[in-house]
Amino acid sequence: MTQTLHERATLSKADFQSDQETRWCPGCGDYAVLAAVQGVMPELGIPPERIVFVTGIGCAGRFSYYMNTYGMHAIHGRAPALATGLAAARADLSVWIVTGDGDALSIGANHLVHALRRNVPVKILLFNNRIYGLTKGQVSPTSERGKVTKSTPAGSIENPVEPVSLALGAGATFVARTVDRDKHHLAAVLRAAAEHPGTAFVEVLQNCPVFNDGAFAHVTDRAQALEHAIPLEHGRPIRFGPEGARGVVRAPDGALAVADVADVGEEALVVHDARRADPSLAFALAHLGDLTRGPVPLGVFRSVAAPAWGAGLVATHREARE
């Protein structure tokens, strides 16, 4: 453990950068997320060899090659299963999953749902670009209805699945949403996720300039963000808009709604409570608006303490060795 302390003192971003040339398209949102993750890692005080990135298949899946940690680039959709096995065998590792909207919510949704309900001690970063990037532009389960893609030339006839709602429906204990463009928000959410003992599910809204450019312009572009992004902070009244002029209130029928603070008064605003055992508030927030039109809440929707799934058989890798 002294070793860890020693390393914590000296760890830097460079310690987490592998020698592999990053191979994403110019301008891809994945670069920003990679930088953010490499930036936050040193703060965790965990030496690189105790960290494992298990990734799925997709552009997002290439993430593991760029981290100077242990890494497994698995098969499409199965990263949560592999990571669960790793967690079952080893309690001494910090296990991270990087996945895409197709990898996690199309072929891999079953494993995602079960990792979440089990509360396996892994952090899941879902890069949601609402498109299939690696296979060059087919519709994804998060693509909006009517979306024209190579596989839906006449427009998609399907409703998108909303990652935060699905995660809450599966019983997730930690659910957050952030964006590739805001490195401070991204870093803050990553820290919170890293601290969560069970499964931490983080949806990262990520831009794919090649096949779905500007999908999140309304939450990343400064001016528009002010109108559409709702920052969630535990224990704080939920407000947004220019000078926080707008806020979230409970309508008479119990549903959440957006109102002008001037009209309803600050006291009327709903105070965000991410620690509530009942996930209903988090779920309602996720339905304030849809990803396409907004408003889009950003931050930690839910973070409740709950026993993490089975402690590993092997306390440390040394024990596995002796």
Binding site: S18, A81, L82, G85, A89, L313, A320
Partner: protein, 613 residues
């Protein structure tokens, strides 16, 4: 009855049959234990109704348990029973076809009411319409006798009495074959210690059965089967293939120092292994019931990546689903043990019937060139070594290994000598350790056996990335280079081919012209069939394969040494097909797909025909 031929004295086959609710598996199990204690060699075969519970008294609801015991050298649970105990009409109807004329049938007369006859689809009672001509029929009013015996015990309900009929039958057979009674009585006392009434009723029923045999001549002379003499010394336990497989995996975990992580998704007949290992957490075993077979394989592989002995077990349909992940393990070159407890296919097929039809899938069921070692267990006891060996190969050669078992092996049991730890080889995972931080770690650099280093997370300085994309020889970095791909394809194949496989053990008579080759659970039937042919004074040779990939180096020579090779298997001729391709030898296939183990008798016939042909 059973006292007609010497053979009969030598070896006896008894089958208990009744409704699922009649406790036949229990009666059979107890009889088996007593027989093991008595010192006979034995083999058993339980047969359950299809997965779903059928209405009581119907044919679909019949459950049975067969035991074959003898003074020496038991090879199979036997073909045709000498004695059938039928607790109701359905049990009689369902099992009659299995009997040879002259066999003894002991029925619970009281159970042959009009209604239950109808349920079994009988117009008139077979006990009276002469349809049992040629069998030694014994009518025993079991229900009446047990009820009477139970009356003595106050508090005992008729329901209790009903439930104890199986012990009456057990008592009767125990008398007939002179089984030690204390074993059974002690078991009853321990099991029902908390329920004194149930205990007493069961004891009473058991003794009533004994007394009935003693006092009436109804069931003919009692038969004596001398204890086995030709078995090597050691502590024996009567176990089925599921238990021995579990113990073999645990032994491998102990001898390798790697914690055992089994992940499985329930499926008949593999579920029992999950159940068995779930009860062994005290031994450091960790079991995970996955959300499906794909996840089960992924969890086992993830655990292996972390330095555990990762195992996953399933049956046919689940194997289909695991293939993509097994292919990943081939590319990652990590240890993974995959156990396929085969059942009758295709598709859902017949979940409670046995078959050997997954061999070619095990060899070729993945896209691309993805070779891996394949082993097959051949006896309930042999599952131990097979499981241990599969784990050893996986760990030492960094490869997924498929172990083929089947429903017959999983359920049938035989006395098995518990090996001492010392008898078991040590398994060396030889984890990579960082020596000099300046020397870059090459995860795909190979040793003389073509094996790559295994560096598990936590080892400082050995951080590396692996994945399913083709890797550059040595560095393991992603490579789309054609020449490298050809080289890696060859290296992966060479590594598997380099697995050390013992030479074929051929048991041949001096001038045998015919070799009977087999694999998997048919070993017992082949051994027995060959013995019968030898008893006819005909020379013959026999060999059985445990390693199906790579095959023994000398197999080709062995095959060519005999003018004729007969390969009986419980499929459409899969191993025969594979061996023809490899050795261009015109192997004669005896293929049976009837959802049952081979019969010694049919093997004997097949051999004689092959000799005649």
């Amino acid at each position: 009855m059973a006292a007609t031929s010497a053979e009969r004295q030598e070896r006896v086959i008894v089958r208990f049959a009744g409704d699922s609710g009649d406790g036949m598996q229990l009666a059979g199990g107890r009889f088996t234990d007593a027989t093991a204690v008595f010192g006979n060699d034995l083999a058993t075969l339980p047969s359950f109704p299809a997965e779903i519970r059928a209405p009581a008294g119907t044919l679909a609801g019949v459950s049975s348990f067969q035991i074959h015991f003898a003074a020496r050298d038991i090879a199979t649970p036997g073909d045709a029973p000498d004695v059938l105990v039928a607790m109701n009409p359905a049990a009689l109807k369902a099992n009659l076809a299995a009997l040879a004329r002259g066999a003894t049938i002991i029925v619970n007369e009281d159970a042959f009411s009009k209604r239950s006859l109808q349920k079994a689809g009988y117009e008139d009672s077979p006990l009276d319409d002469g349809s049992l001509e040629g069998f030694e029929l014994r009518r025993v009013p079991m229900t009446t006798l047990v009820t009477r015996a139970a009356e003595a015990i106050d508090g005992a309900s008729t329901r209790d009495a009903q439930r104890a009929r199986n012990l009456f039958a057990l008592g009767l057979l125990s008398w007939l074959y002179d089984r030690p009674t204390e074993v059974t009585e002690r078991w009853v006392e321990q099991t029902f210690a908390e329920k004194p009434i149930v205990r007493d009723v069961n004891l009473a029923a058991f003794r009533a059965g004994l007394a009935f045999g003693e006092t009436t001549e109804l069931v003919g002379a009692r038969v004596h089967v001398p204890p086995a003499t030709d078995v090597p010394p050691g502590t024996y336990r009567n176990v089925n293939g599921t238990t021995t497989t579990a113990l073999g995996l645990i032994a491998a975990s102990v001898r390798s120092g790697l914690p055992l992580v089994l992940s499985a998704y329930p499926i008949t007949p593999a579920s029992e292994l999950l159940h068995d290992l779930s009860r062994r957490s005290a031994l450091g075993v960790r079991t995970v019931q996955a959300e499906d077979e794909i996840a089960a394989a992924g969890i086992a592989l993830g655990a292996a990546y972390g330095g555990a002995l990762g195992v996953t077990a399933t049956s046919g349909p689940g194997m289909d689903l695991k293939m993509e992940t097994i292919g990943l393990a081939v590319a990652l070159e990590l240890p993974l043990v995959v156990i396929d407890v085969q059942r009758a296919g295709p598709s859902t097929g017949m979940p409670t019937k046995t078959e050997q039809s997954d061999l070619l899938m095990a060899l070729y069921g993945r896209h691309g060139e993805s070779p891996l070692p394949v082993l097959a267990a051949s006896t309930p006891g042999g599952c131990f070594e097979a499981a241990f060996e599969a784990a050893r190969i996986a760990i030492e050669h960094r490869t997924p290994v498929i172990l083929l078992s089947d429903l017959f092996l999983a359920n049938s049991s035989e006395p098995w000598r518990i090996p001492s730890a010392a008898e078991l080889a040590l398994i060396d995972p030889s984890f990579a350790e960082s020596v000099d931080p300046d020397i870059p770690f090459l995860p795909y650099e190979r040793d003389e056996r073509g094996v790559r280093p295994w560096a598990i997370p936590g080892e400082e300085g050995l951080q590396h990335r692996i994945g399913g994309l083709e890797k550059a020889d040595g560095t393991g970095e992603i490579s789309y280079d054609g020449a490298n791909h050809a080289r890696m394809t060859a290296l992966r194949a060479a590594k598997v081919a380099a697995v050390d496989v013992p030479a074929v053990a051929v048991d041949a008579d001096p001038d045998a012209e015919l070799l009977v080759l087999g694999w998997g659970s048919s070993e017992g039937a082949l051994r027995a069939g060959v013995r019968r042919v030898r008893e006819r004074g005909r020379p013959v040779a026999r060999a059985h394969l445990r390693h199906l990939n790579p095959l023994p180096a000398d197999l080709g020579d062995v095959l060519r040494r005999f003018p004729r090779v007969l390969l009986p298997e419980m499929n459409a001729g899969q191993l025969a097909h594979e061996l023809r391709a490899r050795y261009l030898v015109d192997i004669r296939s005896h293929a049976t797909v009837e959802g049952r183990p081979l019969y010694a008798g049919e093997v004997e016939q097949a051999i004689l025909e092959a000799m005649a042909a």
